[in-house]
Symmetry: C2
Subunit: 340 residues, 2 copies
């Protein structure tokens, strides 16, 4: 079928200079839309022989009893714990869970979201990938017109509900913890500048330095990436440079693990030569050599909370009562890697 | 609706004393079924007003382009890597992946499999839970009449394809590795005696002892369970008893982690006082204090292989050509925890 010949919500919206969501609501006779707009939309829909996607409508009526969870990766303690939390609620509610992995690639995130157009799911939980993009594909989620909840890695500009942790406060606390351990040259390691969680954690870091009268040195902010081998090399080059820090604050777990590997390789002693703290849900943090100080996010609870909000929206209970934003607290657990 | 009043394939099969699969094939006019049987089945179906499940049939025709993956847990490095492998193939093939977690509970496994009756998926990948059961619920998978592949934790009696690792050989090698490190009292820790992988690993352990003329002592075979706190206590009681071993071979990763925690608590030095080796996909194995010797399963490859076989069956390519059983090799990686 020639797609360009098909009339869909997008065609109607473009023609009428309205949002897709308005067109969709007008066709469903929503009380939110004025009669004049409804008449205009319906007239054009008739003229262009608009047919709603039958599979989508059928499932919209019957409910698919399925939700989608879109996450960057699964071999990651944070996300596997969050999924555990989501599954507990889904099982209670009698829903199936479709899990999609984007592997941090925008192209996969786009194709996954486009897949969902066909009405296969009643709701979406999403933690966005770290690759740069203009986020325009996320507007498809508005268009599909089903409940969506962002968790952890959220798209701040979106109107959907968001469940996060106190990333700014945790970034601030982790940095102050290192300052209390007499560190002067504290580095901040991150993997993606496109994520709001990265920026919040970094702002916490910068403000904690400022509050403690430690000049901010941009050369101590080190960008790694999602490739483990490349990140190892970046951390190694950094620790071998003249610009060597006396502490590392890793904004994600895998950069702390990279730091440990590099320190072992080039004989930097933790914590004597370098103190390390990291955002992490690693179950073996206390068994590492030395035990790793962590900012531990309540990953299971984030999943549970995001799923609860989604199901309240899907089942339309407490229609006006579900929160737009939930912020859960992370915990700083000091261990030997920051002893002084 | 009163379910007992509904006529389904099971009712017909019971009434006619035929298998559900035969009834299903008869109703679909399969060449595999004789005309007489077809007539009998169709007559009874008419008499009892049998209606095929419309959702199931519609999807059977259209294909749901979805597979189900049923696993015990996800915050486990083995399963999260296996899922990564499955997802790679599913994305290549353009399929969606429904992930179900049984949390090691038979009741969840049964309800998940029953959920799949409605034709929601084109195929199933399953790694069974560790709870005891007579496995009768697994026959539902035969009844649904779609491709199924077991991976890692397989049900040996089933006729479906199975992808596993060389558990017996790995159990044997791990034990010989400890014997070479001069250990005489080697304990075997496990969590579920109902899994064939446990038994294979234990048989490898027993035969390696025998081959090396070390008498098998059943008091050194210690049953733990899936509750972390309970397992910690069992390992602690064991290591504090008169029956203390000089080495531990943990058949699953979480029991090695429990052993490390206990040794730290009661001041047993690894490897001086106790050597430890474990089946494990822990990414931090080399960073632990001390680094943990592991038998590492090719988890990603197991997932990829199981998914490949499933899709070849779903798409009916090479109809007689897909293997019944694939056994992949694990790798023994010696580290400090078994140094002598």
């Amino acid at each position: 079928m020639d797609k360009s010949k098909q009339t869909n919500l997008k065609t109607l919206a473009k023609e009428l200079n309205l949002s897709i969501s308005t067109v969709s609501k007008a066709l469903r006779d929503s009380y939110e839309i004025g009669q004049e707009t409804k008449n205009k939309v319906k007239a054009l829909a008739d003229k262009l022989n608009y047919e709603p996607n039958p599979f989508a409508s059928s499932l919209r009526r019957k409910q698919s009893k399925t939700i989608a969870v879109i996450i960057p990766e699964i071999s990651n303690n944070f996300f596997s714990l969050a999924i555990d939390g989501i599954q507990v609620i889904a099982q209670e509610m009698g829903y199936h869970v479709l899990t999609y992995l984007t592997h941090e690639a925008l192209v996969n995130e786009i194709s996954t979201i486009n897949h969902l157009r066909n009405g296969r799911v009643d709701g979406v939980l999403i933690s966005i990938c770290s690759e740069n993009g203009n986020n325009s594909h996320l507007s498809v989620l508005d268009e599909i017109d089903i409940p969506v909840v962002f968790f952890d890695r959220v798209y701040e500009a979106s109107s959907f509900a968001k469940v996060t942790t106190d990333d700014y406060e945790s970034g601030f606390k982790a940095t102050e913890h290192l300052i209390e351990a007499k560190c002067k040259r504290i580095a901040f390691l991150f993997a993606s500048k496109h994520l709001s969680i990265t920026n919040k954690r970094m702002n916490g870091y910068i403000n904690a330095l400022e509050k403690n009268n430690i000049p901010f040195d941009p050369r101590l902010v080190v960008e790694c990436n999602n490739d483990n081998d490349q990140s190892l090399q970046i951390v190694k080059d950094f620790l071998l440079s003249d610009n060597r820090p006396d502490a590392i604050f890793a904004s994600i777990e895998k950069l702390a693990i990279a730091t440990y590997h590099v320190c072992r390789e080039i004989n930097i002693r933790i914590p004597q030569d370098l103190k390390v703290i990291s955002f992490s849900n690693l179950r073996t943090a206390s068994l590492l050599a030395p035990p790793l100080s962590t900012i531990t996010q309540p990953a299971f609870e984030i999943g549970r909370e995001a799923a609860s909000i989604l199901f309240r929206q899907i089942e339309k209970r407490d229609l006006k009562d579900y929160p737009d934003r939930v912020v859960l607290k992370s915990t700083l657990i000091p261990r030997e890697s920051t002893f002084f």
